[in-house]
Symmetry: C2
Subunit: 278 residues, 2 copies
């Protein structure tokens, strides 16, 4: 870890070279120390414990949907969202330098990545697929074990980091495969992302358990011509069949219209937390 004070210590889940590290670079540029952490709850804990200055976490993927665990973490920690970015998930076949495609007998990756490269795997039945706990971790494993009969499926960044080579680029079945990441800081922190602002606000609320309550909540936005870009429901713990709604909408927290909408939402909601404007 570099000790220069200018560098933002940015935690992410996974091994060095993970797609989350690509998001760290997009959000914070090269003036960041990407800090790999094994589990999502560990990333949030490190942020609260001031072991890192910022966290970069995936919120949703266009093929898979939301990373629901992280919605719960957003609610339960005293953090704010200060940026977002989206990373196109490009899967590459990666092997050690000098290894040829015809040498490959096995290919390692996370099961989700393997499932996103089914066409390639069907066209190459001589290659046996092997599940591994992490995409970038499978490249790291090749480098550590010096395997010359195996490849990994992972990001181009992971090939750079572990000194491996890309044998085939972009072997994913579906190119409309993007993951959206949030940049988080402790409440009141001073982390600044390098991305142009999205001009979006994220909130989470629960509505009274009565007919029309969600409709009335959305009215607070719609009647002010504020455009909702995403709504996600999550179960409310301890209250079976009641829900929290995570809502993203266009605007900034400085807009009077947005401030009025939030005040209006507070009136109609049982509970409301502003997660951040970015």
């Amino acid at each position: 870890m570099k000790q220069n004070k200018q560098y933002v210590r940015a935690g992410f889940q996974g091994e060095r070279g993970a797609f989350s590290e690509i998001a760290v670079r997009q959000l914070l540029g090269s003036e960041s120390d990407p800090i790999p952490i094994e589990w999502f709850d560990g990333v949030f804990q490190a942020l609260m414990d001031k072991k890192i200055d910022a966290a970069v976490i995936p919120m949703e993927n266009t093929l898979h949907g939301s990373v629901i665990e992280n919605f719960d973490h957003l609610l339960n920690h005293d953090i704010e969202v200060v940026g977002e970015t989206s990373v196109r998930i490009v899967h590459n076949l990666i092997a050690l330098p000098g290894v040829a495609f015809k040498d490959i007998k096995e290919v390692y990756s996370h099961p989700v990545a393997l499932n996103q490269c089914l066409k390639f795997l069907h066209q190459n039945p001589q290659v046996e697929k092997k599940t591994f706990y992490d995409t970038a971790g499978s490249v790291k494993m090749l480098a550590e074990t010096k395997r010359r009969d195996a490849a990994a499926i992972a990001s181009n960044l992971s090939a750079d980091i572990y000194g491996a080579r890309i044998l085939k680029r972009g072997i994913e079945d579906d190119r409309a495969n993007f993951t959206r990441f949030f940049l988080l800081q402790r409440k009141g922190g001073t982390v600044k992302g390098k991305m142009p602002p999205s001009k979006k606000v994220s909130i989470v609320l629960s509505t009274k358990n009565e007919p029309g309550s969600l409709f009335r909540a959305l009215a607070a936005l719609a009647l002010r011509d504020i455009s909702l870009t995403k709504i996600e429901s999550r179960p409310l713990k301890g209250k079976p069949w009641e829900y929290l709604f995570y809502i993203d909408f266009e605007g900034t927290l400085k807009d009077v219209k947005v401030q009025n909408a939030i005040r209006h939402l507070e009136e109609v909601a049982d509970f409301l937390k502003v997660l951040g404007g970015y």
Copy 2:
């Protein structure tokens, strides 16, 4: 499998004794043949191939949220929802007959079930937790391997089915742990559930990608005093950051008010599918 024509062949995911089989019994009574199937997509395929008459699948859990894979399957198959039920998830410590609690060195179960019994596991550190692919499957494994130093965490039904005994009942941390199941048939089938009707309708729709479109869709329900009971968003494949909304509301498909609301929804939606009334 019994050959008597009166028996409904009801497919579910998992091993015999799974919580889904408890849902089969609640939904179809004892006049059903519960048919265990390994994967969710296999259950849907068996229904389409007429290998089973009905399918019983979990849609959401009050602690974990939606079983998102099954929402996609509902959209992509020509099926209808004809019933729902909710099962309280009670975890029991189960061992073979004659095995005492003090003999237990290891406890096997699905990682989700182990995570829902953390208090019990912390209070009994002499018992090592071991992950297994299935709750009921771990009881089956005990019966097959005749292990006398191990227990499983699973449903009371799985103890009955595999001739095992419950050593401790209800060891789950949180009693507000329910799973909601749908009873499905092929479109136009004649399966009748034994549960009293819920008087609910499930639909899935996508809205035009323009401000206020979800609000206008919900207006079709709210302006008719139709109570929305659940909304769930899922990414629309091939259209990054656009969504499908799965919506449940109160009413029956015979209500004129509901028929009008569906006609109104068809006007404002890009796409709409009625999944069923039950």
